[in-house]
Amino acid sequence: MSPSRPAAVCILALLAASGCGDLARDNALDPKNPDSSRPLTVLLEAFVNTGAPAPEYNRFMLQALDSLESLYADRIEVVHYHRNAGSVQDPHHLIENEILYDRYVGAMHSGVKGVPDVFINGTTARVQGASSVETAFRRLQEALLGVLSRSSPWTMEAGYSLDDGKIVPEVVLARLGREEATDIRVRAVLTSRLNQPLAGHVVKGSSQGAVIDRLEAGESSTLRLPEIPLNGTTNAELILCVTDRDGLHVEQSQSMPIR
Protein backbone atom coordinates (compact mmCIF):
# COMPACT_ATOMS: atom_id res chain seq x y z
CA MET A 1 0.00 0.00 0.00
CA SER A 2 1.31 3.41 -0.86
CA PRO A 3 1.82 5.57 2.27
CA SER A 4 -0.10 8.42 0.63
CA ARG A 5 -3.30 6.36 0.44
CA PRO A 6 -4.02 6.09 4.19
CA ALA A 7 -3.13 9.76 4.59
CA ALA A 8 -5.65 10.66 1.92
CA VAL A 9 -8.30 8.52 3.63
CA CYS A 10 -7.59 10.29 6.95
CA ILE A 11 -7.86 13.73 5.39
CA LEU A 12 -11.13 12.86 3.65
CA ALA A 13 -12.59 11.45 6.87
CA LEU A 14 -11.57 14.55 8.81
CA LEU A 15 -13.12 16.79 6.21
CA ALA A 16 -16.31 14.77 6.41
CA ALA A 17 -16.24 14.94 10.21
CA SER A 18 -15.82 18.70 10.21
CA GLY A 19 -19.05 19.01 8.25
CA CYS A 20 -21.18 16.96 10.61
CA GLY A 21 -22.14 17.43 14.24
CA ASP A 22 -24.96 19.92 14.45
CA LEU A 23 -25.81 20.69 18.05
CA ALA A 24 -29.54 20.79 18.81
CA ARG A 25 -30.95 24.14 19.98
CA ASP A 26 -32.40 22.56 23.10
CA ASN A 27 -32.31 25.47 25.54
CA ALA A 28 -36.00 26.03 26.35
CA LEU A 29 -35.43 29.80 26.42
CA ASP A 30 -33.59 30.00 23.11
CA PRO A 31 -35.84 31.55 20.45
CA LYS A 32 -34.24 29.31 17.81
CA ASN A 33 -35.43 26.24 19.70
CA PRO A 34 -38.76 25.41 17.99
CA ASP A 35 -40.13 24.21 21.34
CA SER A 36 -39.15 27.34 23.22
CA SER A 37 -41.57 29.32 25.36
CA ARG A 38 -41.48 31.48 28.46
CA PRO A 39 -43.82 31.83 31.39
CA LEU A 40 -46.44 34.45 30.75
CA THR A 41 -46.12 37.55 32.89
CA VAL A 42 -49.65 38.84 33.27
CA LEU A 43 -50.44 42.54 33.10
CA LEU A 44 -53.16 43.80 35.43
CA GLU A 45 -54.31 47.29 34.53
CA ALA A 46 -56.48 48.84 37.23
CA PHE A 47 -58.54 51.91 36.38
CA VAL A 48 -59.23 53.62 39.68
CA ASN A 49 -60.12 56.91 41.27
CA THR A 50 -58.55 57.86 44.59
CA GLY A 51 -59.57 61.49 44.64
CA ALA A 52 -61.55 62.84 47.60
CA PRO A 53 -64.19 61.81 48.35
CA ALA A 54 -63.67 58.63 46.31
CA PRO A 55 -65.79 55.59 47.05
CA GLU A 56 -64.03 53.04 49.19
CA TYR A 57 -64.46 50.41 46.45
CA ASN A 58 -61.29 51.73 44.85
CA ARG A 59 -59.35 51.20 48.06
CA PHE A 60 -60.72 47.65 48.33
CA MET A 61 -59.53 46.88 44.83
CA LEU A 62 -56.10 48.43 45.35
CA GLN A 63 -55.63 46.47 48.58
CA ALA A 64 -56.67 43.28 46.81
CA LEU A 65 -54.18 44.03 44.04
CA ASP A 66 -51.43 44.58 46.61
CA SER A 67 -52.20 41.19 48.17
CA LEU A 68 -52.27 39.55 44.77
CA GLU A 69 -48.94 41.13 43.90
CA SER A 70 -47.28 39.85 47.04
CA LEU A 71 -48.56 36.37 46.19
CA TYR A 72 -47.61 36.33 42.49
CA ALA A 73 -44.77 38.83 42.55
CA ASP A 74 -42.76 37.31 39.72
CA ARG A 75 -45.71 36.47 37.49
CA ILE A 76 -47.72 39.69 37.33
CA GLU A 77 -47.23 43.36 36.60
CA VAL A 78 -49.68 45.83 38.10
CA VAL A 79 -50.35 49.38 36.92
CA HIS A 80 -52.83 51.90 38.27
CA TYR A 81 -54.46 54.21 35.74
CA HIS A 82 -56.11 57.00 37.68
CA ARG A 83 -59.07 58.67 36.05
CA ASN A 84 -61.75 61.17 36.90
CA ALA A 85 -65.02 59.48 37.64
CA GLY A 86 -68.20 61.55 37.70
CA SER A 87 -67.61 64.56 39.86
CA VAL A 88 -64.65 63.06 41.68
CA GLN A 89 -61.43 64.45 40.30
CA ASP A 90 -58.29 62.37 40.65
CA PRO A 91 -54.98 64.26 40.96
CA HIS A 92 -53.22 61.60 38.85
CA HIS A 93 -55.73 61.61 36.03
CA LEU A 94 -54.19 61.54 32.55
CA ILE A 95 -56.04 61.96 29.30
CA GLU A 96 -54.26 58.95 27.79
CA ASN A 97 -55.60 56.85 30.69
CA GLU A 98 -59.11 57.83 29.68
CA ILE A 99 -58.44 57.05 26.02
CA LEU A 100 -57.13 53.58 26.86
CA TYR A 101 -60.07 52.92 29.16
CA ASP A 102 -62.53 53.92 26.46
CA ARG A 103 -60.86 51.53 24.02
CA TYR A 104 -60.89 48.65 26.49
CA VAL A 105 -64.51 49.21 27.49
CA GLY A 106 -65.53 49.59 23.87
CA ALA A 107 -63.98 46.22 23.03
CA MET A 108 -65.88 44.40 25.78
CA HIS A 109 -69.40 43.08 25.37
CA SER A 110 -70.48 44.87 28.52
CA GLY A 111 -69.55 48.45 27.80
CA VAL A 112 -70.35 49.78 31.27
CA LYS A 113 -67.82 52.25 32.61
CA GLY A 114 -67.01 52.64 36.29
CA VAL A 115 -64.22 52.36 38.78
CA PRO A 116 -62.58 50.27 40.02
CA ASP A 117 -62.15 48.33 36.83
CA VAL A 118 -59.29 45.87 36.30
CA PHE A 119 -58.31 44.51 32.90
CA ILE A 120 -56.18 41.40 32.84
CA ASN A 121 -53.83 41.10 29.86
CA GLY A 122 -55.76 43.73 27.99
CA THR A 123 -59.29 42.61 27.42
CA THR A 124 -58.58 38.92 28.08
CA ALA A 125 -60.42 39.17 31.42
CA ARG A 126 -62.06 41.95 33.39
CA VAL A 127 -62.97 42.42 37.06
CA GLN A 128 -65.12 45.44 37.73
CA GLY A 129 -66.24 46.65 41.17
CA ALA A 130 -65.17 45.61 44.65
CA SER A 131 -67.60 45.12 47.54
CA SER A 132 -64.77 44.16 49.92
CA VAL A 133 -61.08 43.43 49.82
CA GLU A 134 -61.69 39.70 50.18
CA THR A 135 -64.27 39.58 47.41
CA ALA A 136 -62.09 41.63 45.09
CA PHE A 137 -59.10 39.42 45.83
CA ARG A 138 -61.08 36.24 45.16
CA ARG A 139 -62.48 37.56 41.90
CA LEU A 140 -59.09 38.80 40.77
CA GLN A 141 -57.41 35.52 41.66
CA GLU A 142 -60.03 33.48 39.82
CA ALA A 143 -59.60 35.57 36.71
CA LEU A 144 -55.82 35.54 37.02
CA LEU A 145 -55.52 31.78 37.43
CA GLY A 146 -57.32 31.31 34.13
CA VAL A 147 -54.54 33.24 32.41
CA LEU A 148 -51.52 32.44 34.55
CA SER A 149 -51.16 28.83 33.45
CA ARG A 150 -50.45 29.86 29.87
CA SER A 151 -47.01 30.23 28.43
CA SER A 152 -46.00 33.02 26.12
CA PRO A 153 -44.46 32.87 22.65
CA TRP A 154 -42.62 36.10 23.43
CA THR A 155 -39.59 37.13 25.35
CA MET A 156 -38.11 40.57 25.65
CA GLU A 157 -35.22 42.31 27.25
CA ALA A 158 -36.06 45.82 28.25
CA GLY A 159 -33.74 48.77 28.51
CA TYR A 160 -33.94 52.54 28.31
CA SER A 161 -31.93 55.68 27.81
CA LEU A 162 -32.52 59.11 29.28
CA ASP A 163 -32.57 62.09 26.99
CA ASP A 164 -33.16 65.61 28.28
CA GLY A 165 -35.78 64.76 30.87
CA LYS A 166 -37.36 62.10 28.73
CA ILE A 167 -37.10 58.36 28.87
CA VAL A 168 -36.59 56.41 25.67
CA PRO A 169 -37.65 52.76 26.11
CA GLU A 170 -35.62 50.19 24.22
CA VAL A 171 -36.45 46.55 23.85
CA VAL A 172 -35.12 43.42 22.20
CA LEU A 173 -38.13 41.32 21.30
CA ALA A 174 -37.89 37.68 20.23
CA ARG A 175 -40.54 35.37 18.87
CA LEU A 176 -40.47 31.91 20.44
CA GLY A 177 -41.93 28.63 19.25
CA ARG A 178 -42.72 27.59 15.70
CA GLU A 179 -45.17 30.19 14.47
CA GLU A 180 -44.53 33.59 12.98
CA ALA A 181 -46.33 36.64 14.31
CA THR A 182 -47.87 39.54 12.41
CA ASP A 183 -49.13 42.97 13.45
CA ILE A 184 -47.54 43.23 16.86
CA ARG A 185 -47.35 46.32 18.99
CA VAL A 186 -44.92 46.97 21.81
CA ARG A 187 -46.06 49.72 24.15
CA ALA A 188 -44.56 51.23 27.26
CA VAL A 189 -46.02 52.60 30.49
CA LEU A 190 -44.16 54.73 33.01
CA THR A 191 -45.30 54.32 36.61
CA SER A 192 -44.22 55.85 39.88
CA ARG A 193 -44.23 54.62 43.47
CA LEU A 194 -45.66 57.54 45.42
CA ASN A 195 -45.20 58.10 49.13
CA GLN A 196 -48.83 57.30 49.79
CA PRO A 197 -50.61 54.10 50.68
CA LEU A 198 -51.91 52.06 47.77
CA ALA A 199 -50.03 54.19 45.25
CA GLY A 200 -47.23 51.88 44.20
CA HIS A 201 -47.85 51.83 40.45
CA VAL A 202 -49.40 55.13 39.47
CA VAL A 203 -49.19 55.71 35.72
CA LYS A 204 -47.30 58.93 34.92
CA GLY A 205 -47.04 58.54 31.18
CA SER A 206 -47.27 56.06 28.35
CA SER A 207 -46.26 55.47 24.79
CA GLN A 208 -48.31 53.75 22.13
CA GLY A 209 -45.02 52.21 21.12
CA ALA A 210 -43.98 50.66 17.86
CA VAL A 211 -45.57 48.20 15.48
CA ILE A 212 -43.83 45.23 13.92
CA ASP A 213 -45.52 43.93 10.79
CA ARG A 214 -44.00 40.49 10.87
CA LEU A 215 -41.60 38.49 13.02
CA GLU A 216 -40.60 34.96 12.07
CA ALA A 217 -40.30 32.21 14.66
CA GLY A 218 -36.88 32.40 16.29
CA GLU A 219 -36.30 35.92 15.01
CA SER A 220 -35.41 38.91 17.19
CA SER A 221 -36.05 42.59 16.69
CA THR A 222 -34.56 45.57 18.47
CA LEU A 223 -36.94 48.46 18.97
CA ARG A 224 -36.57 52.01 20.20
CA LEU A 225 -39.95 53.27 21.34
CA PRO A 226 -41.16 56.89 21.33
CA GLU A 227 -39.96 58.87 24.32
CA ILE A 228 -42.02 59.49 27.44
CA PRO A 229 -41.56 62.73 29.41
CA LEU A 230 -40.40 62.08 32.97
CA ASN A 231 -41.88 65.30 34.37
CA GLY A 232 -39.91 64.89 37.58
CA THR A 233 -41.18 61.38 38.19
CA THR A 234 -39.31 59.64 41.00
CA ASN A 235 -39.24 55.98 42.06
CA ALA A 236 -40.18 55.22 38.50
CA GLU A 237 -40.71 51.90 36.80
CA LEU A 238 -41.01 51.16 33.12
CA ILE A 239 -43.45 48.48 32.01
CA LEU A 240 -43.26 47.13 28.48
CA CYS A 241 -45.86 44.88 26.97
CA VAL A 242 -46.39 43.03 23.72
CA THR A 243 -49.89 43.33 22.31
CA ASP A 244 -51.78 42.88 19.09
CA ARG A 245 -51.80 45.85 16.72
CA ASP A 246 -54.93 47.28 18.38
CA GLY A 247 -53.37 46.97 21.80
CA LEU A 248 -56.36 45.04 23.16
CA HIS A 249 -54.70 41.71 23.92
CA VAL A 250 -51.49 41.60 25.91
CA GLU A 251 -49.27 38.59 25.22
CA GLN A 252 -46.26 39.33 27.42
CA SER A 253 -45.08 42.04 29.76
CA GLN A 254 -41.99 43.02 31.67
CA SER A 255 -41.00 45.75 34.07
CA MET A 256 -37.74 47.40 34.98
CA PRO A 257 -36.89 50.10 37.53
CA ILE A 258 -35.59 53.46 36.36
CA ARG A 259 -32.45 54.48 38.24
Binding site: V9, C10, A13, L14, C20, G21, L23, N27, K32, E157
Partner: protein, 142 residues
Protein backbone atom coordinates in the same frame (compact mmCIF):
# COMPACT_ATOMS: atom_id res chain seq x y z
CA UNK B 1 17.23 0.62 -7.93
CA UNK B 2 14.02 -0.78 -6.49
CA UNK B 3 13.63 -1.45 -2.78
CA UNK B 4 13.75 -5.30 -2.72
CA UNK B 5 16.92 -5.37 -4.85
CA UNK B 6 18.47 -2.75 -2.62
CA UNK B 7 17.69 -4.85 0.46
CA UNK B 8 19.09 -7.98 -1.18
CA UNK B 9 22.29 -6.16 -2.10
CA UNK B 10 22.63 -4.89 1.42
CA UNK B 11 22.11 -8.36 2.90
CA UNK B 12 24.55 -9.93 0.48
CA UNK B 13 27.16 -7.24 1.10
CA UNK B 14 26.90 -7.72 4.85
CA UNK B 15 27.41 -11.44 4.58
CA UNK B 16 30.32 -11.15 2.09
CA UNK B 17 31.94 -8.62 4.36
CA UNK B 18 31.53 -11.00 7.28
CA UNK B 19 32.90 -13.96 5.33
CA UNK B 20 35.92 -12.04 4.03
CA UNK B 21 36.86 -10.07 7.10
CA UNK B 22 35.23 -11.86 10.00
CA UNK B 23 33.97 -8.60 11.30
CA UNK B 24 30.34 -7.64 11.66
CA UNK B 25 27.74 -10.32 11.96
CA UNK B 26 26.05 -12.64 9.54
CA UNK B 27 22.58 -11.62 8.47
CA UNK B 28 20.34 -14.51 7.62
CA UNK B 29 17.07 -12.67 6.98
CA UNK B 30 15.80 -9.19 6.24
CA UNK B 31 12.22 -7.96 5.90
CA UNK B 32 11.43 -6.28 2.63
CA UNK B 33 9.19 -3.59 4.12
CA UNK B 34 8.13 -2.44 7.60
CA UNK B 35 5.12 -0.22 8.23
CA UNK B 36 5.43 2.47 10.96
CA UNK B 37 3.04 0.70 13.35
CA UNK B 38 4.60 2.15 16.50
CA UNK B 39 4.45 5.69 15.20
CA UNK B 40 0.87 5.12 14.12
CA UNK B 41 -0.08 3.73 17.54
CA UNK B 42 1.54 6.70 19.27
CA UNK B 43 -0.29 9.10 16.99
CA UNK B 44 -3.56 7.28 17.63
CA UNK B 45 -3.02 7.59 21.38
CA UNK B 46 -2.46 11.34 21.08
CA UNK B 47 -5.56 11.70 18.91
CA UNK B 48 -7.68 9.65 21.34
CA UNK B 49 -6.49 11.74 24.29
CA UNK B 50 -7.27 14.93 22.33
CA UNK B 51 -10.72 13.56 21.46
CA UNK B 52 -11.39 12.89 25.14
CA UNK B 53 -10.27 16.42 26.08
CA UNK B 54 -12.45 17.86 23.31
CA UNK B 55 -15.40 15.81 24.53
CA UNK B 56 -15.02 17.13 28.09
CA UNK B 57 -14.74 20.68 26.74
CA UNK B 58 -17.83 20.07 24.63
CA UNK B 59 -19.81 18.94 27.69
CA UNK B 60 -18.83 22.14 29.51
CA UNK B 61 -19.74 24.36 26.59
CA UNK B 62 -23.03 22.60 26.00
CA UNK B 63 -23.89 23.19 29.67
CA UNK B 64 -23.03 26.86 29.27
CA UNK B 65 -25.39 27.08 26.30
CA UNK B 66 -28.14 25.23 28.12
CA UNK B 67 -27.77 27.51 31.15
CA UNK B 68 -27.94 30.71 29.09
CA UNK B 69 -30.93 32.98 29.62
CA UNK B 70 -30.07 36.20 27.81
CA UNK B 71 -30.97 36.69 24.15
CA UNK B 72 -27.52 37.95 23.24
CA UNK B 73 -25.85 34.84 24.73
CA UNK B 74 -27.64 32.07 22.86
CA UNK B 75 -25.99 32.33 19.44
CA UNK B 76 -22.34 32.76 20.53
CA UNK B 77 -22.58 30.03 23.17
CA UNK B 78 -24.30 27.65 20.75
CA UNK B 79 -21.69 28.31 18.06
CA UNK B 80 -18.86 27.73 20.52
CA UNK B 81 -20.36 24.44 21.70
CA UNK B 82 -20.99 23.35 18.11
CA UNK B 83 -17.39 24.10 17.09
CA UNK B 84 -16.15 21.98 19.98
CA UNK B 85 -18.55 19.20 18.99
CA UNK B 86 -17.15 19.20 15.45
CA UNK B 87 -13.60 19.15 16.76
CA UNK B 88 -14.47 16.21 19.00
CA UNK B 89 -16.10 14.33 16.13
CA UNK B 90 -13.12 14.99 13.86
CA UNK B 91 -10.65 13.81 16.47
CA UNK B 92 -12.78 10.74 17.26
CA UNK B 93 -12.95 9.73 13.63
CA UNK B 94 -9.21 10.36 13.21
CA UNK B 95 -8.55 8.18 16.27
CA UNK B 96 -10.69 5.42 14.82
CA UNK B 97 -8.85 5.61 11.52
CA UNK B 98 -5.52 5.60 13.36
CA UNK B 99 -6.55 2.51 15.27
CA UNK B 100 -7.53 0.67 12.10
CA UNK B 101 -4.31 1.73 10.40
CA UNK B 102 -2.26 0.62 13.39
CA UNK B 103 -3.91 -2.80 13.29
CA UNK B 104 -3.31 -3.01 9.56
CA UNK B 105 0.35 -2.07 9.94
CA UNK B 106 0.88 -4.57 12.75
CA UNK B 107 -0.71 -7.31 10.65
CA UNK B 108 1.34 -6.37 7.60
CA UNK B 109 4.54 -6.30 9.61
CA UNK B 110 3.86 -9.76 11.05
CA UNK B 111 3.30 -11.17 7.55
CA UNK B 112 5.90 -9.22 5.65
CA UNK B 113 7.97 -10.83 2.89
CA UNK B 114 11.47 -11.69 3.92
CA UNK B 115 14.79 -12.14 2.12
CA UNK B 116 16.67 -15.05 3.59
CA UNK B 117 20.41 -15.71 3.22
CA UNK B 118 20.36 -19.26 4.49
CA UNK B 119 18.79 -22.45 3.39
CA UNK B 120 15.32 -22.80 4.70
CA UNK B 121 14.88 -24.99 7.72
CA UNK B 122 13.94 -28.52 6.86
CA UNK B 123 12.52 -31.27 8.90
CA UNK B 124 15.05 -34.04 9.56
CA UNK B 125 13.02 -36.58 7.70
CA UNK B 126 11.73 -35.42 4.38
CA UNK B 127 10.30 -36.80 1.23
CA UNK B 128 9.42 -35.23 -2.09
CA UNK B 129 7.83 -36.12 -5.39
CA UNK B 130 10.32 -35.58 -8.20
CA UNK B 131 7.93 -35.94 -11.14
CA UNK B 132 8.62 -39.55 -11.79
CA UNK B 133 10.17 -40.71 -8.55
CA UNK B 134 9.67 -40.26 -4.86
CA UNK B 135 12.73 -39.31 -2.81
CA UNK B 136 12.93 -39.89 0.93
CA UNK B 137 15.71 -39.53 3.36
CA UNK B 138 17.31 -37.49 6.10
CA UNK B 139 18.51 -33.98 5.43
CA UNK B 140 20.41 -32.06 8.04
CA UNK B 141 21.61 -28.47 7.56
CA UNK B 142 24.59 -27.06 9.48
Amino acid sequence: MNAPLEKMTSLLASNIHYQLTGSGRPVDRMRLHRYPAAVCLAGTSVLAASALAAHLAFLDRRSEYRDAARLEDFDPLHERAERTLRLRNGLSIASGIGLVLSGFFLYQNSHADEITACEPRVVPYAFAWGGRTWTAGIHVSF
